[in-house]
Subunit: 172 residues, 2 copies
């Protein structure tokens, strides 16, 4: 979409949230970051998003405090974009929306989310049914599901063919 950006009249926390993360592509960038994507080029290849838009979105998300930009090597200088605590707290929103899409718009799940401790699959509310808790992100593993795409060949897609913990860097 192009979400124009502001919802001026709406004195509502949902509208404020949407001013930040409601623009086209933004929530997909955050989803990728939850999966462990960190570098500009990896977001670019996985999302097939125009470079200018990705650049604008990452800049805005850093500005808003959802990501930090961190130099991870000096020569050549390279930065990575990592979710802050605030950004990480969007996980329940991302998860419940993806589950909704899965129930109503897909035939089979493309990814499955499991609690690392006990191995059980998370329920609709991101709770681990046997344990009765919402696991921390570091205790959640993404696994490929039966409906998974076979077409895409970018590094991120390939890396996600293996089970992987959320937030762990996905690529070297």
């Amino acid at each position: 979409m192009a979400l124009g950006k502001n919802y001026d009249g709406q004195d509502c926390s949902l509208a404020k949230a949407l001013e930040l993360i409601g623009e086209r592509w933004t929530l997909l960038v955050i989803r990728d970051a939850l999966y462990g994507v960190r570098r500009f080029g990896d977001f670019l290849a996985h999302l097939e998003i125009p470079r200018a838009v990705l650049s604008q979105r990452l800049g805005m998300l850093v500005e808003a405090g959802l990501f930090t930009r961190r130099r991870y090597q000096e020569s050549p200088p390279r930065d990575e974009y990592v979710l802050t605590e605030i950004g990480q707290e969007l996980w329940p929103t991302v998860y419940t929306l993806a589950k909704w899409g899965e129930r109503h718009l897909s035939r089979e799940p493309m990814r499955l989310f499991h609690h690392v401790g006990c191995g059980a699959e998370l329920d609709q509310g991101a709770v681990c049914p046997p344990c009765g808790v919402r696991p921390a992100l570091s205790q959640i593993e993404v696994r490929p599901g039966p409906g998974l795409d076979r077409e895409k060949r970018d590094q991120v897609t390939l890396a996600l063919r293996q089970p992987h913990r959320l937030l762990e860097p996905l690529l070297p």
Copy 2:
């Protein structure tokens, strides 16, 4: 904004969900419908959305099965837009995102959500803490919170100054 509409490459249930509800204004329309707004003119006045956009969105949401359009009086002919079961299932997404916005972007909550049975306020996961369940929508009451807007004067805003059950028609 303009959210372009499709995320072609993304074989992912989140992307499919965003193709439906990721466009500008769409999630706010759904939030209003959860509050009990049903008529074209009420969405219009409360959201201050351009008429053409509201018309396009409602048409698309009916098409997609998130709303039904129902004639509620014959003379003059008037239709109302009501959430289907599928649309209602977006409640957890809407709620968790609004709560996120409340924690990080507002000082005080503008609306509070209580379980009708026991009167307790819902937690971050839309669960009623004493009861340990996620109440059905009909068992949730929206109440005005301390941060509430005093400016707006449209019918919907005024009606929401009183406690009100979700989905119950907000206006006569």
